[in-house]
Amino acid sequence: MRAVKRIEIIIEEIELENVTDELHRIGVAGYTVVPRAWGYGTHGMRQDNNLGMGNVYLVIACDEKQSQQVIEAIRTILRRYGGICLVSDAQWVIHEG
């Protein structure tokens, strides 16, 4: 097992591409997207409707250094559009080799 940072991001679906573009630029090893989330925050209730504009839930496992880059990149996006980003510690189960 390897100690990693577990970054979870909740943003509007329409901004997702902005975020994944950044993730590819930074070169993270991977990420996971859970679509069709909804929620409540400073921008009020976001979608309990059927016309789009919902949230997505993103999880990224990466090392400490990359996590700094992700946080910086995400911060500008969150500042513009809202959403949240939480960072916590986790152990990554290594399966290779």
Partner: protein, 324 residues
């Protein structure tokens, strides 16, 4: 000319049922995927139908309709923006976002008008369908331009990139692709092969529209809680703007395009309707400073039900009056 019984058509009644269900806080819910599937289906259906009709229209009058559609798409948001800034006194970025919604169109409202005319056996021209497809895009671009003017610059690097993407999106938008693509297919496919898909895309169309409007009634009604956030002067705008748009549409339809009662009603409806599917996400990306509670409540919660319940019969009456 117009009677209450003309409202007793399923399209409008199902809209009312949805509105009511949400008002009494029923647990009735449509799966989001059903709503999206229905709107894909409806856009294709209207496109194919339009395409077969357009094949019969001569090129000059088609071109006239396209030019008018572009004119309305670019012109209406400017009128809306001026009203919002000068009279309603909304800040410029919110004004730009709202204006873009009113320059664009609502296919649901348009189809309700078609159902309204059909129920009364009023014929109508086929150009309005092309105009529906054309009017989706310009308003998004004008919204962007107005926002950039409001920000007093062409934006930073990020803004410029977003702008470039949005201009691309305005023209490759799902609704635009479906409408124009199906129109092309309707206009060029072998008639015999086209007939095989008629039962699906045409015979079933009205029923599927009713189902869609049932959900749209719920969506519109869901916005009621946000009315207080919007404030009285914006609410007035949400009803005045469609009336202004409709008036412009009626005059142009009658005097410039020479449409009959049916065509004028449809053009008035296009001009009066505000987008609530394609434009909101575009404006959210383009103008993140603007409040979705404002533009969605206005287009979906005020203007859409107003048009469905009162506007369409009113525009029809006016079209009837002007053509006499």
């Amino acid at each position: 000319m117009f009677s209450l019984s003309s409202m007793l058509i399923p399209a409008i009644m199902f809209f009312g049922l949805g509105f009511l269900a949400q008002l009494v806080r029923s647990d009735l819910k449509f799966p989001p995927e059903l709503t999206k599937s229905l709107s894909i289906y409806l856009l294709i259906g209207i496109g194919i139908h339009g395409g077969t009709e357009i094949a019969k229209v001569d090129a000059t009058s088609a071109m006239g309709a396209i030019l008018v559609a572009l004119g309305l798409g670019f012109g209406l948001p400017v009128i809306a923006y001026a009203l919002l800034c000068k009279i309603v006194r909304v800040d410029k970025l919110n004004a730009a976002a709202i204006a873009a919604h009113y320059g664009s169109v609502s296919a649901g409202t348009f189809l309700t008008a078609v159902a309204f005319l059909d129920a009364q056996k009023i014929v109508y021209e086929s150009q309005p369908v092309i105009m529906l497809a054309i009017m989706e895009s310009p308003a998004i671009i004008i919204g962007l331009v107005l926002a950039n003017l409001a920000r007093n610059n062409s934006g930073n690097g990020h803004q410029q990139r977003v702008s470039r993407e949005l201009v691309h999106d305005a023209f490759t938008n799902g609704s635009v692709m479906l409408l124009l693509g199906s129109m092309l297919i309707g206009a060029t496919a072998q008639p015999a092969a086209l007939e095989k898909i008629t039962p699906f895309f045409s015979t079933m169309f009205s029923g599927a529209l009713s189902l869609f409007l049932l959900d749209m009634g719920m969506e519109a009604s869901r916005r009621i809680g946000d009315f207080k956030k919007v404030g009285p002067s914006l609410l007035v705008f949400g009803i005045a703007m469609p009336l202004i748009g409709a008036a412009v549409g009626i005059v142009i339809g009658h005097n410039i395009l020479g449409f009959g009662v049916g065509g004028i009603t449809l053009l008035a409806t296009l001009a009066a309707s505000a987008s609530y599917i394609a434009v909101p996400p575009a404006m959210r990306l383009a103008i993140p400073e603007a409040s979705p509670a404002l533009f969605l409540t206005l287009s979906l919660g005020v203007t859409f039900p107003f048009n469905v319940a009162l506007g369409i019969p009113l525009y029809y009456s006016a079209a009837h009056w002007i053509t006499q």
